[in-house]
Symmetry: C2
Subunit: 233 residues, 2 copies
DNA sequence: CAGTGGTCTAGACCACACA
DNA sequence: GTGTGGTCTAGACCACTGC
């Protein structure tokens, strides 16, 4: 009620969030306009705008020109998580990172990959498989496919001393990507590689990355099932 | 090279990103100051600031007062994903949502939960288990624990017609939370509930939410293993 | 201490969408 | 048309931190 002397955009943001939580503005409600809130909080409209924009980015309010700002009626929270380089992920646990190349082969893209890449005609890809270890314990199996057309330098890289994961991050930084997580059962081969029992649960992260509209690489990263991805929201 | 007449913050952001991608500014490099870029792009410093802030939020550059802005040397990409209400997630696939309450019991928090909640002494919680179905197919098993101290209204809710997931989202909107994903093998009971074979892979999402410093609820959401969480970055 | 980013301001113009 | 958010500007002051 009191016109809280909230100058900073964080204070404005928190005050708005409080009012949403305490049902001053219930789910689906229309909030006052930026100018009205700027007047109430005695700050510039740009300050209210930044506060509201952050709430919109977090999926808490919806904003539309002319229609105004509403509390989202069916909350869909947004959570952000980090996608680290495997080596760093392992070293951050205090373990020694080790890397083992398993296979490396240049070939024509198989049909399933051609379809994923959206290629009408098949083209050359580099297929690399390798293992990331934490100390002596297998941490992740990487099954990597790289478009040679998009990353010609890959053809000259042996991947004996650096993983495709790390090499690509350095060589093709900040491409666009998509990541999926899923659970699978270990086949015999995978179980042996990851040193788990056949049939054990495997946590798989599947990634595709593009540069513009062109596919760069596809990878499946398989972890023993006790692996977790965690994030706050 | 050309002083691209990039007025909008998106253009500025994209131009900076291009220069990072084409190694004009390699990994770890120091970028020009905001004022210098504002002059080059012939725009206000605030515009450059917004562009740089977005790149910093995305984990592409690091900014420190006095030290300036650097391209992150070890790229750790940030991906954002949505945490929907289960019912909406199912209905968005075109399937009919069905819900079945399995159990509901008020009890003293067991030790493992007390420890997760950071409670020095145990207190009352409500334990609810239920099943979310897409048509006739089990979609998710929800194992839910709610702090009665934090959500006294839960004690008066039967959860026969609304799931704890959806009820909590409506009743305690926009609390803070943590979510983890992991892979597990189905035990006999879980396999029967989710109609998969015992030992099949299960995709588990584990959530904790707080209001301020107080734990509100803990839940394990178990899906058949073919379930995926996908996001772009 | 000096230079960088962090933030706020007051004002302006624009794009959009609904009446 | 008209009111909303979206964005930009020019300037200002501040906070942090490396020199």
């Amino acid at each position: 009620m009191t016109a809280a002397t909230a100058t900073g955009f964080r204070q404005v943001r928190n005050e708005i969030l409080s009012r949403i939580r305490d049902r001053t503005w219930p789910l689906g409600a229309l909030l006052p306009s930026e100018s009205a809130l700027a007047e109430e909080f005695d700050c510039a409209r740009a300050t209210v705008n930044r506060a509201m924009r952050e709430l919109a980015d977090a999926g808490i309010v919806e904003r539309r020109r002319r229609a105004g700002t509403r509390v989202v009626k069916d909350p869909v929270r947004h959570a952000q998580f980090k996608i680290p380089i495997v080596r760093q992920e392992i070293e951050r646990t205090g373990a020694t990172y080790r890397y083992a190349l398993l296979s490396r082969e240049a070939l024509t893209a198989p049909d399933w990959l051609r379809s994923r890449f959206g290629w009408s005609r098949s083209s050359k890809v580099l297929h690399v498989t390798c293992l990331h270890l934490a100390g002596t314990r297998p941490y992740q199996f990487e099954d990597r496919w790289i478009s040679i057309a998009m990353v010609p330098k890959a053809a000259g890289e042996s991947f004996e001393h650096i993983s495709p994961n790390e090499w690509l991050v350095r060589e093709v930084p900040y491409s666009d990507g998509e990541i999926s997580f899923l659970a699978e059962q270990a086949t015999g081969d995978m179980a042996e590689l990851l040193q788990v029992a056949p049939g054990d649960a495997i946590f798989v992260a599947e990634r595709m990355t593009w540069l513009g509209d062109d596919p760069v690489t596809y990878a499946r990263m398989s972890h023993p099932g006790h692996y977790r991805v965690t994030t706050r929201f």
